[in-house]
């Protein structure tokens, strides 16, 4: 009897995993937690990648993912199928990350001071280093640092477009703006990022000469 029940549960789980997002959402809205868990398993990686780009730390990113799915679960009744579920999820992540960024502004500034001293030897550009992996790691570190210096709006725009490679329409939905507005934000974010990177590069070169 127990084996039959387990088999039935397994069969139900398999049937749930084959459903579309819309069906899973309607089931989750009716109180089916398995449906919501299926949604979580399906989109967990995508949300995590985006979260990681926003916060730059694995533990922070995982916390952000968990918090985002908790919010999604609690507010699943408010979801309307006007936007894709992933877009709705990313909007939640964006809002949460923006809130966290406001709270941790001071912490970031302290980390920046510590990182600058470690990046003194590093440059970006045509220098060829035999330790390319190390160079890439350092470059990543510098870019993440530069990204953290951007405003949440610019950071979100550049991550969605140039890291996650989202279309401008979806970016506009996540950022609650028009497509033209999304294009303009991405353009300005790229310029702002380049300005910060150039500044860091210049400072590191000056400290090297000194």
């Amino acid at each position: 009897m127990a084996i039959n029940a387990a088999a039935l549960g397994q069969k139900n789980l398999e049937s749930v995993t084959q459903l579309t997002d819309e069906d899973l959402i309607s089931r989750a809205q009716s109180g089916d937690y398995n449906a919501f868990e299926t949604l979580f398993m399906r989109h967990r990686t995508m949300v995590y990648r985006y979260s990681y780009q926003l916060v730059g730390r694995r533990d922070d990113a995982e916390d952000l993912v968990q918090e985002s799915f908790v919010r999604a679960y609690v507010n699943i009744g408010k979801y309307r199928d006007q936007a894709k579920f992933t877009t709705w999820l990313l909007r939640i992540v964006t809002n949460l990350a923006a809130d966290q960024a406001r709270m941790h502004t001071r912490r970031s500034s302290l980390e920046l001071q510590q990182s600058k001293s470690g990046l003194a030897w590093m440059t970006i550009g045509n220098q060829i280093s035999p330790e390319s992996d190390v160079e890439n790691a350092v470059r990543n570190e510098l870019l993440r640092l530069a990204l953290s210096q951007l405003s949440p709006r610019h950071r979100t725009a550049i991550i969605l477009r140039d890291v996650e490679e989202k279309e401008y329409g979806e970016i506009a939905e996540i950022m609650k703006c028009s497509v033209g507005g999304a294009k303009l934000r991405v353009l300005r974010a790229r310029r702002a990022l380049q300005t910060v990177v150039s500044k860091f590069s210049k400072e590191s070169k000056e400290s090297l000469h000194a």
Binding site: A28, Q29, G31, Y33, E37, F40, M41, R44, T45, Y48, R49, Y52, Q53, R58, A61, E62, V65, Q66, F69, V70, Y73, V74, N75, I76, G77, K78, I124, G125, N136, R139, N140, L142, L143, R144, I158, D162, V163, K183, V186, L187, R188, R190, R191, L193, Q194, V197, S198
Partner: protein, 288 residues
């Protein structure tokens, strides 16, 4: 602000240009070395951003999420039940309407008092016809109303307040004997406004003793208003005092300084309450 040079350089680096812009950028790339350097700078940035795509593996599992939800006893919020909002709004509007109706009824009751008073103004053309509960308040305002070309009065028709302007009767004073009017004025004044000291007492005794409607105008009466009090005969005074239910003698002070005291004893012949005029004395107690 982004200038066209920067827009083209960034767009060219990230392959974000349309056909026309692409041609323009290609032309500048060949002819303008500064533009070429700018494009190269952004291409390096793009390459660096591509490296950011590698992220460590996510170790968050469904169990973590389930544990978190269970630990905080979180449940999905139900969809908004609009019927609750509609019911609440309906109840609120009903309360508001009931409140307005209640306030309006209060006002209409006040206006009934005014209407009664003003309606009696027309009946003053009948000399010496006194309706005790109403005529007590009548003499205060009747002359004022008669002097005005039109006096507002409020009447209620079909639960609505309608303001009507009625002309005061022009024959009010012409049908009366001036001598009799003067005599009546004096006596009426002695009854209703014996002195400033007793006017409040008289007003209270009228209100409670006769049970007639209170007249706000009488409360606001001033000595100037008293000078134009309309006529009233002794019979009317006796008739009005007959309705007194207090059982105590009404004591009033005349303008000449004498006190007119109404006794609780009735005259055998006429059946009316007797009244005595006494010289003013501080020994005579006043009050109801």
């Amino acid at each position: 602000m982004l200038n066209k040079f920067q827009k083209l350089a960034i767009g060219k680096s990230f392959d974000d240009l349309n056909g026309k812009q692409e041609e323009s950028a290609e032309g500048m790339l060949k002819s303008n070395p500064e533009f070429e350097a700018e494009v190269q700078k952004y291409r390096e940035l793009r390459a660096g951003l591509n490296l950011l795509k590698d992220v460590p593996e996510c170790q968050l599992t469904a169990e973590h999420l389930r544990t978190r939800l269970l630990s905080e006893s979180l449940n999905p919020r139900s969809k908004r039940d609009w019927s609750i909002y509609v019911a609440t709004a309906t109840a609120a509007v009903s309360c508001l309407v009931l409140g307005l109706v209640w306030v309006q009824q209060g006002r209409s009751q006040q206006s009934i008092g005014y209407q009664t008073q003003n309606a009696d103004v027309q009946s003053t053309s009948r000399p010496l016809a006194v309706n005790p509960p109403k005529s007590i308040l009548k003499p205060l305002d009747a002359p004022n109303l008669a002097e005005k070309p039109a006096s507002p009065s409020v009447s209620i028709e079909s639960s609505r307040l309608a303001v009507q302007h009625r002309k005061a009767s022009p024959s009010y004073s012409s049908e009366l004997n001036p001598n009799l009017v003067a005599l009546n004025e004096e006596r009426a004044m002695s009854v209703f406004f014996p002195s400033t000291r007793t006017s409040r007492m008289s007003s209270e005794s009228f209100r409670h003793g006769f049970g007639g409607p209170s007249n706000p105008a009488s409360e606001l009466a001033t000595p100037n208003n008293r000078q134009i009090t309309p006529p009233m005969t002794m019979e009317a005074l006796q008739q009005s005092s007959k309705l007194s239910t207090t059982g105590q003698s009404d004591q009033t002070e005349s303008t000449s300084g004498n006190l007119i005291t109404f006794q609780p004893v009735r005259d055998r012949k006429t059946g009316l309450i007797e009244a005595k005029e006494e010289p003013k004395s501080n020994d005579v107690p006043l009050g109801g």
